[in-house]
């Protein structure tokens, strides 16, 4: 059951399926990220689409973060933050979904009155109240910035968690920091001189960092405490930076650090660093939906501060020549459109495109992801639908303490009215209500045309089944299931086991367009940063009956590539946020063999009579993800000077490409100079089109040389 709300309190009237599920008490809210589940904040992040004019309403204080827009273009997607001034009234215990709905009601009415375009909103994660500054003004006055002793020729930027920005690896040859700017998005608000140029969290410039380093002496823990990066009472920070290593330490070191770990691939003093530390627990939510404002405002911040640096050297500070910039963003999620048209991908593409017009040497490096062999992507082809319907298995693991999400995407342009989806729980369970949906709109007055249903078992909601015409042009079905373990005092859970997802087509409906498939992804649901989420990864299962010989082990020799692209395949497992055409997508290879790491995600391939064809965005380049099949991962700095980290995955490979690119940029070379051709197939692999296609989809067209110990040296900037 989904309780009846007043029309202006129905989140479904204003927002998409993830928001409705995550913010509604009857659905996923009790299982969501703690700040949402416990309703502890009236401060939210959000995205606005279709207009770049922020709505005004007396109940809400809204803020735009620093936005980079030198050419004054209309922004397709605008990140913003808002504060519900009524949220702290102890007498008003409103439900989160109703709060958000009434906000969207007022702002969308206001926007609609002003604009012919119907705006869309996405409400993201909350902001800790302590992080909300009272003295925000987006103008960056550079007062705390000191001129580096060497004029910058290029900028390396890193967006990640747990950043060791006081580490000695980031000092220049005179002992001053190369970190020009850093924004700690979830730190306690701090207004230097009564002015904060970031809307929440705090910002440091190189002058601040040098002073903090001097004050703390060699005691780096004191540096992080004094800078607010360690804050024992803020959930988002806590003692995270007292860990020996973090994801961000590895990545920032690999992209921008100097020291013995990185061999002679040295970043000169002419390369400045800009960094943004996301909320350290950003990996908590497994759907990705709630992080977009943090991520997008981080990219804008990097571009904006890079321009501010350039302005310091410009004859006309209002029109500086943008510096070469390489931004590493080792982050992603699994599901999504994978066609470059998600909100994040559109925003990234627009920013990259505009900046490349001003400065061609601009790149964003992102990982392909680590899901290649996780059975998290499936395809339904026209031949599968010949009987009118096709089912795929969805294996939900027991004792999963977080929600699971599965997305089904019809090809763009396909009429949803011809299709329906049925969800069947594992053997022995049945739904008491819901479980079937047609892809036809029920709502759509504001936002995308869409329809929501609940999955009920014994009268209790165990999930949500929805269909929406995403951004008005592509049908998506989202299945959201609550945890399979009883958690947070809830008396409901979804049964673990093999769920069946059946997709049916109306008889007589047109076939799928030539070369297009229906595509399915499950969202990531693991816990790579050991945040104790309790997530356990679900996966697809091929329900096609197999012949009697299927259990035979493959005959030697071991082959990396198969003779057919199967319906459930890693080809198409590429990150759901990495399909913007101009993004540099980095896969991981094993240094000892030159072959792809087993988990390294790949671009899409489909196999039909005409052979194997790529679809969608593809891997651009590979870098070392593992030293060998035995010695996995790559070494980088830990959180503290003198410590080491080791990270397995494409997240650690990606910044190696960023490093190579920025060294090249500072030296005036093309960004990928020094990269090597893709290694040949292993001798036991046949030289044929299908193997070559798989090889390219996994490794890209070239590989970056290994960095550091035992590696063939990348060329340094000197």
């Amino acid at each position: 059951m989904y309780a009846t709300r007043d029309p202006n309190e129905r989140i479904s009237n204003y927002s998409g399926p993830y928001e409705r599920y995550v913010f509604s008490e009857e659905l996923g809210q009790p299982f969501a990220f703690p700040a949402i589940a416990e309703q502890t904040s009236g401060y939210y992040t959000a995205l606005l689409e279709g207009t770049d004019h922020l709505p005004e309403h007396p109940r809400f204080e809204t803020r735009l973060p620093p936005l980079w827009n030198p050419m004054g273009r209309t922004r397709t997607i605008v990140p913003f933050a808002f504060y519900d001034k009524g949220a702290n009234d102890p007498n008003r215990r409103a439900r989160v979904d109703r709060e958000v709905a009434s906000l969207l009601d007022s702002v969308s009415a206001e926007s609609a009155a002003r604009s012919a375009i119907r705006p869309r909103f996405r409400v993201n994660f909350p902001i800790a109240p302590e992080a909300w500054t009272r003295q925000y003004h987006p103008h960056c006055d550079m007062d705390h910035w000191v001129v580096p002793h060497t004029r910058p020729k290029a900028i390396i930027a890193v967006i990640d968690d747990g950043l060791p920005f006081g580490h000695r690896a980031f000092l220049d040859s005179t002992g001053h920091t190369r970190v020009s700017h850093i924004w700690l998005q979830s730190a306690r608000a701090h207004a230097a001189n009564g002015h904060s140029a970031v809307p929440f969290g705090r910002e440091f410039m190189n002058g601040d960092i040098n002073a903090l380093r001097a004050a703390a002496g060699d005691d780096e823990a004191a540096f992080y405490r004094n800078s607010g990066a360690i804050d024992p009472v803020l959930d988002e920070l806590g003692p995270y930076m007292r860990r020996a290593m973090t994801h961000g330490a590895h990545v920032m070191g690999m992209a921008a650090g100097n020291g013995p770990l990185y061999g002679d691939a040295v970043l000169g003093d002419d390369i400045q660093i800009i960094a943004v530390q996301l909320p350290n627990t950003i990996a908590w939510d497994t759907s990705g939906f709630g992080k977009e404002m943090y991520m997008l405002s981080a990219i804008h911040y990097v571009f904006d501060r890079a321009r501010a640096i350039a302005a310091k050297y410009a004859a006309d500070p209002a029109h500086p020549d943008e510096l070469p910039l390489v931004l590493n963003f080792s982050y992603g999620w699994s599901a999504g459109r994978h066609d470059g048209q998600s909100e994040m991908e559109l925003a990234i593409e627009q920013l990259l495109s505009e900046r490349q017009q001003l400065q061609p040497e601009t790149a964003i490096t992102m990982p392909t992801g680590n899901n290649f062999d996780s059975q998290m992507h499936a395809a339904l082809r026209e031949e599968d639908l010949s009987g009118g319907a096709h089912a795929v298995g969805w294996q939900i693991q027991p004792e999963d303490r977080t929600s699971n999400y599965l997305e089904i995407w019809l090809p763009e342009g396909v009429d949803g009215a011809d299709y329906s989806v049925t969800v069947t729980p594992p053997n022995g369970f049945s739904l008491s209500s819901g479980g079937a949906i047609t892809l036809t709109p029920e709502l759509g007055h504001r936002g995308d045309p869409r329809r929501f249903t609940e999955l009920e078992m014994n009268g209790q909601n165990i999930g949500q089944l929805s269909a929406d015409l995403h951004r008005g042009n592509r049908w998506r079905v989202l299945i959201a299931l609550i945890p399979s373990a009883y958690v947070r005092n809830q008396t409901r859970r979804a049964p673990a086991g093999r769920w069946q997802i059946e997709i049916s087509r109306r008889p007589g409906a047109p076939a799928l367009p030539e070369g297009a498939d229906i595509r399915l992804w499950v969202q990531r649901d693991d816990d790579p940063s050991a945040l104790q989420t309790g997530g356990r990864q679900s996966r697809f299962v091929d329900l096609t009956p197999r012949g009697p010989g299927h259990a035979r082990p493959p005959a030697p020799p071991y082959r990396l590539y198969s003779t057919a692209i199967k319906p459930i395949s890693g080809f198409g497992s590429l990150s759901g946020v990495g399909s913007a055409p101009r993004v540099t997508r980095v896969a991981g290879y094993v240094q000892s063999s030159g072959q792809p790491a087993s988990y390294s995600a790949a671009g899409g391939l489909r196999h039909d009579i005409g052979g194997v064809q790529p679809w969608g965005a593809q891997t651009t380049i590979s870098a070392v993800a593992d030293h060998s099949r035995v010695l996995r991962g790559t070494p980088s700095i830990g959180c503290y000077s003198g410590g080491q980290s080791r990270l397995v995955g494409t997240s650690g490979a990606t910044p190696q490409v960023a490093r190579l690119m920025v060294i090249n940029a500072a030296a005036g070379r093309s960004l990928t100079e020094g990269c090597l051709p893709c290694p040949p197939l292993l001798p036991q692999e046949e030289q044929n089109d299908i193997n070559n296609a798989q090889h390219t989809a996994r490794l890209g067209s070239m590989i970056a040389p290994a960095i550091g110990f035992g590696a063939p040296r990348a060329r340094s900037s000197s």
Binding site: D218, P232, G238, Y240, R243, A530
Partner: protein
């Protein structure tokens, strides 16, 4: 059984073994958690032979005794009476008893019901006053303890290897070796035992519940010891050792990089204390109280060694809801409720002075020049 255990030997201290949670003490005897150094300190104890060896010795003696003839035994050359010169002869655990006997008679404690505080005096003068934290502060500290659990996977091995006295960790920083620094190890061990006892006295009086008995989310990763939470004995021991070793290393004068080593020593004392919070058995304010107690005790021990600093200010701690770190302890103590008062004194005693001189001679400077 006592003869099988070195510290069982410390012995008359007897009850110590029973203190269990003093962990390392059990370990010292080779009976509990073994820390390597425990084996070293117990090495002075002969224990007993196996039954076969004893029987063999008896039959051998019977077979050989006739060869010794019947002459009267010569007059013995007497050992010096009541002299430190004899200390080297005794087993280490015996010296342990002597060191403790030079400190414990000087330690006394009194409690103040009105302020719920306890004062530990040395040679009759107040040395440390610790006030029982309020229930409200303990409740607030629970959140800090919970947050520190994030570091458990990072530090599990370290924490479980520090259930006893973490002497190896000090040795690592100072380049110590059992063959080259036997008396330095002995000084550290005596220091830790004294610190542990003093902490137990105060813990008993203040009787503060452990975090896991206040907040159900704490779920400690190691056994919660059978004594009160405030002050932390690990913090007390670590800061006592830190205080004594800072002085000894400076006396050595042989390490070319004293400053960074001392910085690491301070970092280690902090880390040992914080690890107990990570494990879920101590509040951060327990570390504050322990660090204060340990620092004052360390100075008293230096006094017994004839190395007293010129001023021995007494310390008083009344907890606020503070996180613990060494920087605040060393630089901003007053802001967190730790204040200095009138001086106390600690005069030199012969056995500790002997031990100090021996340990001070274990520097790594070239010899024979």
């Amino acid at each position: 059984m006592a003869q099988y255990g070195g510290l069982g030997g410390l012995g008359g201290l007897g009850g110590l073994g029973g203190l269990g949670g003093l962990g390392g003490l059990g370990g010292l005897g080779g009976l509990g958690v073994q820390t390597g150094l425990g084996a070293f300190l117990g090495a002075g104890d002969t224990g007993g032979y196996s039954g076969a060896v004893t029987a063999g010795l008896m039959t051998t003696a019977d077979g050989l005794r006739h060869l010794a003839g019947t002459a009267v035994a010569p007059d013995p050359a007497p050992l010096k009476f009541d002299s430190p010169d004899n200390l080297e002869r005794w087993a280490q655990w015996v010296r342990g008893s002597l060191y403790l006997s030079e400190v414990f008679p000087a330690l006394s404690f009194s409690t103040q019901e009105a302020t719920k505080s306890v004062t530990l005096a040395f040679d009759g003068a107040p040395m440390v006053t610790l006030t029982r934290p309020t229930d409200a502060i303990l409740g607030q500290q629970i959140e800090l303890v919970s947050n520190y659990a994030d570091l458990r996977s990072d530090r599990a091995t370290e924490i479980t290897s520090q259930l006893g006295f973490p002497t190896e960790y000090f040795a690592m920083i100072l380049g110590m070796h059992v063959g080259q620094h036997p008396k330095t190890f002995e000084l550290i061990m005596a220091t830790q035992i004294i610190a542990a006892h003093a902490a137990m006295i105060v813990k008993h009086a203040l009787a503060v519940r452990r975090p896991d008995q206040i907040g159900g989310r704490i779920l400690p990763m190691i056994p919660t010891p059978g004594h009160g939470s405030f002050p932390s004995a690990h913090a007390t021991e670590a800061y006592t050792v830190l205080t004594v070793m800072e002085a000894l290393v400076s006396t050595w004068g042989s390490l070319g990089d004293i400053a960074p080593r001392l910085a690491m020593l301070r970092g280690l004392a902090e880390r040992i204390a914080v690890n107990r919070t990570v494990a879920g058995v101590h509040f951060p304010i327990d570390s504050w109280a322990g660090a204060a107690l340990g620092t004052a005790l360390g100075r008293a021990i230096l006094g017994r060694c004839g190395q007293a600093p010129s001023a021995l200010p007494s310390l008083s701690y009344a907890a606020q809801n503070s996180d613990f770190n060494d920087h605040d302890f060393a630089q901003n103590a007053a802001a967190h409720g730790l204040t200095e008062g009138a001086d106390y004194t600690a005069t030199a005693t012969p056995n500790f002075s002997w031990l100090w001189d021996e340990a001070a001679g274990e520097h790594q400077a070239p010899t024979g020049i």
